[in-house]
């Protein structure tokens, strides 16, 4: 009894998730359109060149929002008819806290690489990422850290001659 109500709740939350994603996807289009029309999107007009550069983007944004609204309406209708309809993709539920934590660590790593180069952020954030990913073995974690951290840095910089970003130009960090 509890299991079936849990499954039903999960299906409702998945349906709500789909609705939220559809709504967010539709909202993105008017945002770009408004930004463009208000001149906030950095969309210069070159009148001397007989400007047509904004025509296609605007048409695409209108198509995007129109199709998105119809799809959102369809999703909403389906949701209100059967909120606990099973997911057609039959996927299992993700752990939201874990996903958000992994996403936050990955975003942090990517942003930190912009400011501090590859080596410093990877040394600091990769162990956290491995831990969040579910690595519990200390030996395995150290080997994975050495391969994916300093190992890849060495492979790309010295082995393949492709320089990864560094804090000090030409240095390891």
């Amino acid at each position: 009894m509890t299991d079936s109500s849990d499954t039903s709740d999960e299906q409702v939350s998945r349906s709500i998730g789909r609705l939220i994603v559809s709504a967010a996807f539709v909202v993105a289009s008017p945002f770009f359109l408004a930004a463009s029309l208000l001149g906030a999107a950095g969309s210069d007009m070159n009148i001397a060149a007989g400007d047509t550069s904004q025509a296609l983007p605007h048409i695409l944004l209108v198509v995007w929002v129109a199709l998105g609204l119809v799809d959102l309406f369809r999703e909403a209708t389906t949701f209100f008819r059967a909120p606990a309809a099973p997911d057609s993709q039959g996927r299992s539920d993700d752990d939201p806290v874990l996903v958000l934590a992994i996403m936050a660590a990955t975003v942090g790593l990517a942003v930190a690489i912009v400011f501090f180069g590859y080596m410093v952020p990877i040394v600091l954030i990769l162990p956290l990422l491995l831990r969040l990913a579910g690595v519990r073995s200390l030996g395995g974690g150290i080997v994975a850290f050495l391969i994916l951290g300093p190992g890849l840095w060495w492979l790309f910089n010295d082995g393949l001659g492709i320089r990864l970003p560094a804090l000090l130009s030409g240095g390891m960090f």
């Binding site: 967010a24 695409l60 990955t106 990517a110």
Partner: protein, 503 residues
């Protein structure tokens, strides 16, 4: 007289190593559940930037072909297809393994994959130059109509609703237009940020959407495999065992070749259609689903036959049929080769080298399958947490090294989050990527076409018979979705009514 100078590139040590490494990696990546062709290509992309054109394409094509075949190993041994393309192989491959015929099932799958791949190479070599020759008749309006048709086709056959597919295609084209307008030089949707003036890097977006979001999804779930058959040895079928099965092999390969050449359909569709056809026509149809080799032959020959024919529109027209060929196409751009209708005339040496490389890779698959199948049990012992963390780190490096800009890594991760949300929302990702790839060409040809027709877009369909046919097909594809829904709805209602009448 055929110019054979391309053979020097094909037999260069770097190309040979790239083919062997790429094919082996591809088989391994394909065999590990969760790592498909796109993730494999995304991981290998950064290694190609320091390489010459032919070796880099050899590596990527090796990963592509190898991964399509590799999916069958896990499909047969652990009842979990390594790639979606091998989902149909599970139906008869795993029951064969349960009967103690795992080695034989792998043998049928390997032989069928290699045969299907080689047949598709022949089709590619014959058809691509003919199509490219025909494509020289295409002007701006025809190219615009062709891209519109390809995008509609991809949206129509994408998983999920056609509305979602079309809106994703529109969003993809829109995002491809961010940056500097090539005609007027005006900045578009850059929000005053210097980084965006060069536009979004396609490879970073693809890596994010597919590899990073896949890693997020897999890490958030608990991937468990069913029973594993370890210590299995691959056993190729003897010639006498092929008796009565060659027709199935040829028919399934032909289906794969045809479907592969259509934009957006892909190897999974080909495998299921071939499997269903074989089930109807095979004299052993009653055994299907219980461990019938004909089922494995149908699925594996057709999904590998897609690999060569999917390159036909890519090489002849510059139109990628799916995400995998879009990545190969973008790798060509990185190496200074502009895909399109003139690729065959301007870079014939590279095209010929691709033909030769594809043939060699298919033969290499046969050789490399033996040791990799024996390794499989050990490979599967690597926990997914290590593999997926590796995918994230490789994806970041891949994105960063394309243009040498660390901000591309942030773009990749941002699109990883975006891709994860879209997957949860049931949005197909392929139309988005194809829109992103074809967007600049779409706009360029639309604007040229408008100049040619004095701004009258309504005159496009009457510009030539080619344009008319392409626009009619596009209109048919748009009507396909609602008609399908209507027909299936009526069928479902009549079935419900029939069942309710029955006592």
């Amino acid at each position: 007289m055929v110019d054979l100078t391309f053979l020097a590139d094909v037999w260069a040590p770097a190309t040979v190593v790239a083919m062997i490494v790429g094919t082996a990696l591809g088989i391994i990546i394909g065999a590990l559940p969760g790592l498909g062709s796109v993730v494999g290509l995304s991981i290998c992309l950064p290694f190609t930037f320091g390489m010459d054109t032919v070796p880099s394409l050899a590596l990527l094509l090796g990963v592509y072909c190898g991964s399509v075949y590799g999916g069958s190993i896990s499909a047969i041994l652990i009842n979990s297809p390594g790639t979606p393309q091998s989902a149909a192989t599970v139906l008869d491959g795993y029951p064969m393994a349960l009967q103690g015929l795992a080695g034989k099932a792998l043998g049928w799958s390997t032989a069928s994959s290699v045969a299907g791949g080689l047949i598709s190479c022949i089709v590619l070599i014959v058809a691509a130059p003919q199509l490219a020759h025909f494509a020289t008749r295409f002007g701006s309006i025809e190219v615009f109509a062709l891209i519109l048709m390809a995008l509609t086709c991809i949206a129509a056959v994408s998983r999920g609703s056609m509305l979602k597919g079309l809106s994703m295609g529109s969003a993809g084209i829109f995002l491809s237009l961010i940056g500097t307008d090539p005609v007027t030089g005006a900045a578009r949707f850059t929000f005053g940020i210097q980084f965006f003036t060069a536009g979004l890097d396609l490879i970073s977006v693809v890596i994010g959407l597919f590899a990073v979001s896949e890693a997020f999804t897999r890490l958030a779930q608990d991937g468990k495999n069913e029973s594993v058959f370890s210590g299995v040895r691959l056993m190729l079928p003897s010639l006498s065992e092929w008796k009565g099965r060659i027709g199935n092999l040829l028919r399934s390969s032909a289906i794969g070749c045809f479907i592969g050449a259509l934009p957006g359909t892909g190897a999974a569709t080909a495998a299921f259609i071939s499997y269903a056809t074989a089930k109807q026509l095979s004299p052993r149809r009653d055994n299907f689903g219980k461990g019938e080799p004909d089922g494995v032959i149908a699925a594996e020959s057709s999904n590998n036959a897609v690999t060569g024919s999917a390159m036909i529109p890519t090489l002849a027209l510059g139109i990628p049929g799916d995400v995998v060929t879009a990545i190969v196409l973008s790798a060509m751009v990185v190496h200074g080769i502009t895909p399109g209708v003139r690729l065959m005339s301007e870079h014939l040496d590279v095209v010929n080298a691709i033909f030769a490389v594809l043939v060699i890779i298919n033969i290499l698959m046969l050789i490399l399958a033996f040791p990799i199948v024996r390794l499989f049990g050990k490979l599967l012992a690597i926990p997914e947490s290590y593999v997926m963390t590796g995918v994230i780190v490789f994806s970041l490096i891949g994105a960063i090294t394309v243009r040498g800009n660390a901000l591309d890594g942030v773009v990749a991760v941002a699109f990883g989050v975006f891709g994860y949300a879209l997957r949860r929302g049931g949005y197909p990702l392929a139309p988005f990527v194809i829109g992103l790839v074809l967007g600049p060409q779409f706009e360029e040809n639309l604007r040229r076409g408008l100049l040619l027709s004095d701004g009258d877009i309504l005159s496009f369909p009457t510009h030539s018979w080619i344009a008319l046919v392409l626009f009619l097909v596009t209109a048919g594809l748009i009507l396909f979705g609602p008609l399908q829904t209507l027909i299936s709805g009526r069928f479902a209602r009549s079935e419900t009514a029939r069942l309710s009448r029955e006592p």
